[in-house]
């Protein structure tokens, strides 16, 4: 709390605070975790709230101790300063190495992990899209999953009713999602930040409920099939449709559906790389600067002649478009879509990625997306506690580092030769 109460006195106060916090925690945990409903009677688990309360008390003590410590030592901050300088100098190299690593990865991991990697790239794509909206433009969109759903269903239904191929569905799904984004954004973007959050939340639910209930068009909970993409008319199936060639026949290879996944992986890698390029460019462009300016101070923007509605719409539309693109890929990779993939939890997942990645930082967002997709697969227990950990991560990040772990790297300007 304050730096004055140092030493033994401080420790005593921390202990007292920790004890009080633990006591309150016990009161909170006791009825919910201490007894569980089983039918109309109860089962007791008295050790659970006790342990939880003890952990909370210990956590509280450590927190006080941590906060009372002097600022990070100068050696440490020098080190981190040197590191960020090094990173600045070698950024291009690092990106190339990572890209290379991502390119050779499919040959070293099995089929199962290849599919996990594909999912991870889809989340990277989605998170990059949401990052434009939340991280750069500062608009809290809690219904991002709506655009993801529009993309996925745009492909699946487009295929079913219009016979759209995957390649046609990519621009179609992206544009459709962008249209939805602009349609929602236009009236909504004049709102206060909190209202925007809840309206987007409601919009996301509306989309999901409509998909779920409109049986005759969307198939409701039964879902819709979404076929796998072909490569210049070459199929990846075991047998080709009449008049088509399959991949393994064409290249005289034994059949394996791994080719298909590797092809898809590279396709996604290209799209994600394109997206990373786009976001990095945009941040240095007038549009990207306007997004950030809008996040910082809308009134000042208006005083400088910047029209908030159009700037916000562009962020919202571009974010929605990326979400739609991710949706098309998701539908194709699963071969099937149904409404359960588009719940609020999915929006929360993507938001958690953006927040953990440090709102605005492209590299951080990519790292967080990969981490949060791979971890639940690697650790089964993690999957069970995923929601809880996302929630804790959001709260802790906001309390501890609201601007992200690394902070955003700013463009530096030098004077040109003419003085």
């Amino acid at each position: 709390m304050n730096g004055s109460g140092e030493g033994a006195h401080g420790v005593g106060r921390w202990l007292r605070e920790a004890a009080i916090t633990g006591g309150i925690a016990f009161l909170l945990f006791a009825p919910i975790t201490g007894v569980t409903l089983s039918g109309y009677t109860l089962e007791g688990h008295w050790q659970r709230p006790l342990w939880l309360a003890v952990w909370v008390a210990v956590g509280r003590f450590l927190w006080s101790w941590f906060r009372a410590r002097p600022r990070p030592s100068p050696a440490l901050s020098r080190l981190s300063g040197a590191f960020s300088l090094w990173l600045d100098d070698h950024r291009t190299h690092l990106i190339l190495i990572l890209l290379l690593g991502a390119m050779i990865l499919p040959w070293f991991i099995g089929k199962y992990w290849l599919n996990v990697a594909i999912l991870a790239w889809i989340y990277v794509l989605l998170a990059l899209g949401l990052n434009i909206v939340v991280g750069l433009a500062g608009l809290l969109d809690l219904g991002f999953v709506a655009f993801y759903a529009v993309g996925a269903y745009g492909y699946a239904l487009g295929h079913q009713y219009l016979g759209l191929s995957f390649w046609a569905a990519l621009p179609f799904g992206a544009l459709l999602a962008a249209c939805f984004g602009v349609m929602l954004g236009f009236p909504v973007l004049r709102m206060h930040g909190d209202y925007l959050a809840i309206v987007t939340l409601g919009f996301g639910e509306i989309i999901r409920l409509v998909i779920n209930n409109w049986m005759s068009f969307t198939g409701g909970p039964n879902g819709v099939r979404a076929p796998f993409p072909s490569l210049f008319g070459i199929d990846f199936g075991r047998r080709a449709a009449p008049g088509h060639v399959t991949f393994h026949e064409y290249f005289n290879l034994p059949y394996s559906n791994e080719y298909r996944d590797i092809f898809f992986y590279f396709l996604l890698l290209i799209v994600v790389s394109g997206m990373v390029f786009l976001v990095r460019r945009l941040r240095r462009m007038p549009l990207g600067r306007n997004w950030e300016a809008l996040r910082e101070d809308e009134i000042a923007c208006r005083a400088l002649g910047i029209q908030p509605v159009t700037v916000k719409l562009s962020a919202f539309g571009l974010g929605a478009m990326t979400g739609g693109l991710g949706g098309v890929f998701f539908a194709a990779s699963q071969g099937f879509v149904n409404p359960t993939s588009f719940t609020f939890m999915e929006s929360a997942h993507i938001l958690a990625i953006v927040i953990l990645g440090g709102m605005g930082s492209t590299g951080g967002v990519i790292a967080a997306a990969v981490l949060l997709t791979v971890l639940p697969e690697a650790l089964r227990d993690f999957a069970e506690y995923r929601g809880l950990l996302f929630g804790c991560a959001m709260v802790l990040m906001m309390v501890w580092r609201p601007k992200g772990l690394m902070g955003m790297r700013r463009a530096r300007f030098r004077r040109s030769g003419v003085a």
Partner: protein, 290 residues
Amino acid sequence: MAALLTVRDLSMRFGGVVALNGVGFEVARGSVTALIGPNGAGKTTVFNCLTGFYRPCGGAMRLSYADGLQVDLIEILGGPFRWRDLSSPRAFGRRLYYKMFGGAALAARAGVVRTFQNIRLFKEMTAMENLLVAQRARVNNQLLAGLLESASYRRAEAEAVERAWYWLDFFRLADDGNRLAGELPYGRQRRLEIARAMCVGPRLLCLDEPAAGLNPNETRELSEWILALRRGHGVTVCLIEHDMGLVMEISDHVVVLDHGQVIASGRPERVRDDPVVLEAYLGAPGEEGW
């Protein structure tokens, strides 16, 4: 000198509170005009109307530039629909456009640019970026040109950076170009905000208490800068200020507001000796000066 800005009968109410009641004044082209008055007199409300943040309940605000361009600031704000609009699709279209996209942004594009009493910089962006954002009209805003870094885009960008450096030098902020605006000391933030306003390319620069919180040295510098802006950059300045020393030194014309009305206006010396003004400030006629 001809009037750049003519304000007539401006009135503004918030619920039952009358903030402005028939305010009228003129700002001569190339002048420094000060808006003074006790706290709550409605000075900032006048600014908010001028710069399009509030839509006045009545009155007229008109800009007329030396090149003959006339701007009706009220129309820009997007007034309520009138029956007459129905007979004229053009008028209807204009009103609809201004309703959707009008307001402060258009006022700024028309050349009325302001600073704020409580500094409003983009704190998490560098000083340079602050100045670049302000140059919306000059940079190449096309998405594709930017993504492909076309020649015209790069040229526009380089010019914008040059201009930003010019204004940083002008306000002695050259060393702070790449620092975050929020990290600058207070006095520099004030300067940066004026520099940012200048980057928009204003014809009428509205400064809301530019000297608030500055020390006497900084205030003196500020008055030199304001005069230099008017002299060398063709800017007309309209400012709200409580520092009477500054007002007396630099303004050509002073407008005194009290209770939402103009109680006096004229040359600074004349206003200073006006008993009505003294009464407004001190509550009763007295011998104390400012």
